[in-house]
């Protein structure tokens, strides 16, 4: 019993160490290949698959988040006569938390799952070894384009989610509930700061990196057979999801600290 706990712990730590080495190497190699035009076409192709094709799901996710927030919050605020403030609530929630996190979770499912399955299959059919045997670094050829695409495009996708979230909230509030459009927009503009929007988008950078690293790592270390690939995909999704939530919390704490240091006057108001 104690023995097995020990073995599991050591395994876990060793695995974390290997992941850290993998992630560090991937970032170093990626940084280098940003300056070599040879890898641009690979990065471009991945941006298309990872970014462009994710736009619809992310937009739908954002729109529904905005709409449901409006629907649920309206009753509460209206009973206090505060319905014109609905915009602040919806937009802060969307821009700061729900937009980034839900967009990232969508990406973890859509992109992360596909990444792990693709790389995992390549691993078990020795295609990764084949890349290696031909003198090409598989991290540079396979991981870098995916990592760069995720890093660059997750923030952009979050902007799409935010945009549609804001629009969804606006439509339900103004058209369905008949809130004065002018008031809705004015209160929102006062309530939501550039800081809120900025932190939400910057988070995307970290979420994107986490999704790419975890999914690629799981693909590269995938066990033999169809079952191995399936298991790797599950682990990659659960891992990415947990990491997104964890990172989000850490990010909120850090952002709060920074905010209250640099905007002390505003936070007193």
């Amino acid at each position: 019993m104690i023995h097995s706990i020990g073995v599991k712990t050591i395994d876990g730590v060793a695995n974390l160490g290997r992941f850290a080495i993998f992630a560090t190497r991937a970032h170093v190699v990626s940084l280098k290949s940003c300056f070599s035009p040879k890898s641009y076409s690979l990065i471009w192709a991945q941006m298309n698959i990872i970014g462009v094709h994710s736009v619809p799901v992310v937009m739908v996710t954002g729109a529904f988040v905005g709409m449901i927030l409006a629907l649920q919050a309206y009753g509460q605020l209206a009973s206090m006569g505060l319905e014109e403030h609905l915009g602040v609530l919806i937009n802060i929630a969307v821009v700061k938390e729900l937009g980034p996190v839900l967009a990232a979770v969508m990406l973890a499912g859509r992109v992360g799952g596909a990444l792990t399955a693709e790389l995992g299959t390549m691993n078990v059919t020795e295609q990764i070894a084949a890349v290696e045997s031909m003198g090409t670094d598989p991290v540079r050829y396979l991981v870098t384009p995916r990592l760069v695409a995720c890093l660059l495009l997750t923030p952009v996708l979050i902007v799409f989610a935010d945009l549609l979230g804001i629009a969804g909230g606006y439509f339900v509030s103004v058209i369905q509930f008949g809130i004065n459009s002018r008031a809705y927009i004015d209160f929102s503009a006062q309530g939501v700061e550039l800081w809120d929007l900025g932190t939400g988008i910057v988070k995307g950078f970290f979420f994107g990196g986490a999704i790419a690293m975890i999914s690629c790592y799981k693909g590269f270390t995938c066990k033999e057979g169809a079952q191995g690939v399936g298991q790797a995909c599950t682990e990659a999704f659960v891992g990415s999801f947990m990491t997104i939530l964890g990172l989000n919390y850490v990010f909120a704490v850090v952002a709060k600290a920074i905010y209250s240091t640099f905007w002390p006057v505003q936070s007193l108001l």
């Binding site: 390549m122 059919t125 020795e126 295609q127 070894a129 084949a130 290696e132 045997s133 031909m134 003198g135 090409t136 670094d137 991290v139 050829y141």
Partner: protein, 278 residues
């Protein structure tokens, strides 16, 4: 126990006292082998005895737990990926399952190694090269197909074309004739002989096909339970006194395996009489 002593400069590729285990499974147990330049070395041995693992050591795709691997006298098992790239461009490696990139067409698969190391400007010449390499394995005309649309044997042959695309000095074939019909197998045998004759290629071939082994080998090495148990030319192996070797090359089933099968009869019916085919 057989213990050979080899020095880093004894051959083009030298593995020295390597030990390799995966978890608790000991696969290679103190194996030493020096592969001579310009010769064809065939590795035989029962399924699962570590032939593929041994071959992967020679290109540093797998690293030993103990022991060293040398290429042209330079130690390669401790190099990192980037340093290995320089060495690996001299190799062509045919994987046991082909390992074609399934997201790329046959054409793109074959130009992959070239594209990785050179800037292609003259596409006409590349087209010609791809055509020539594919023709060598009897696959010309399949350029635009995807690997998933090819049969196993066809994939293997395209993979072989990819392995020789860069005109490597060393070619490693992991079971080149498995999954091919007898005539195709012989075409591959001839190809291996031709590459040796004309381009002085050093070949390392893993195979179960003894006919092919006798035909192409300058030297045959037999691996059994992680150790080398026989080493010599075709005639030496053909007349080898070791019972395990003898049994293996003649494809005779062992007593223990026979006993396991000795349940139930093997009577069967045929729909034809011998005279029907006259």
């Amino acid at each position: 126990m057989i213990k050979a002593s080899v020095q880093p400069n004894d051959g083009l590729i030298v593995v020295r006292n390597i030990v390799k285990s995966f978890g608790r499974l000991l696969v290679l147990d103190n194996v030493s082998l020096a592969v001579e330049e310009g010769k064809t070395t065939v590795i035989i041995g029962p399924s699962g005895c570590g032939k593929t693992v041994l071959m992967k050591h020679m290109i540093s795709l797998v690293r030993p737990n103990e022991g060293e691997v040398y290429f042209k006298g330079e130690r390669i098992d401790e190099l990192n990926e980037r340093q290995l790239a320089r060495i690996r461009v001299e190799y062509g490696f045919l994987f046991q399952m082909g390992a074609l990139f399934d997201s790329l067409s046959v054409y793109e698969n074959i130009i992959f190694p070239i594209q990785q190391h050179h800037k292609i400007t003259d596409w006409k010449a590349i087209d010609e090269l791809v055509k020539q390499k594919l023709a060598m394995v009897g696959m010309d005309g399949f350029q635009m197909q995807f690997p998933s649309n090819l049969s196993g044997g066809q994939q293997k042959r395209v993979a072989l074309a990819r392995a020789i695309a860069m005109d490597p000095n060393v070619i490693m074939y992991d079971e080149p004739t498995t999954g091919l019909d007898p005539i195709r197998s012989d075409v591959i045998n001839e190809l291996i002989l031709k590459l040796k004759r004309e381009l002085k290629v050093t070949s390392i071939v893993v195979t179960h096909d003894m006919k092919s082994a006798y035909k192409i080998a300058d030297r045959i090495v037999m691996l059994h339970e992680g150790k080398i148990i026989a080493d010599g030319d075709a005639d030496h192996i053909r007349n080898h006194p070791h019972p395990v070797v003898e049994q293996f090359i003649e494809g005779k089933i062992g007593e223990a395996d026979l006993a396991a099968l000795r349940h139930g009869g093997t009577k069967f019916q045929t729909q034809y009489a011998k005279d029907d085919f006259k």
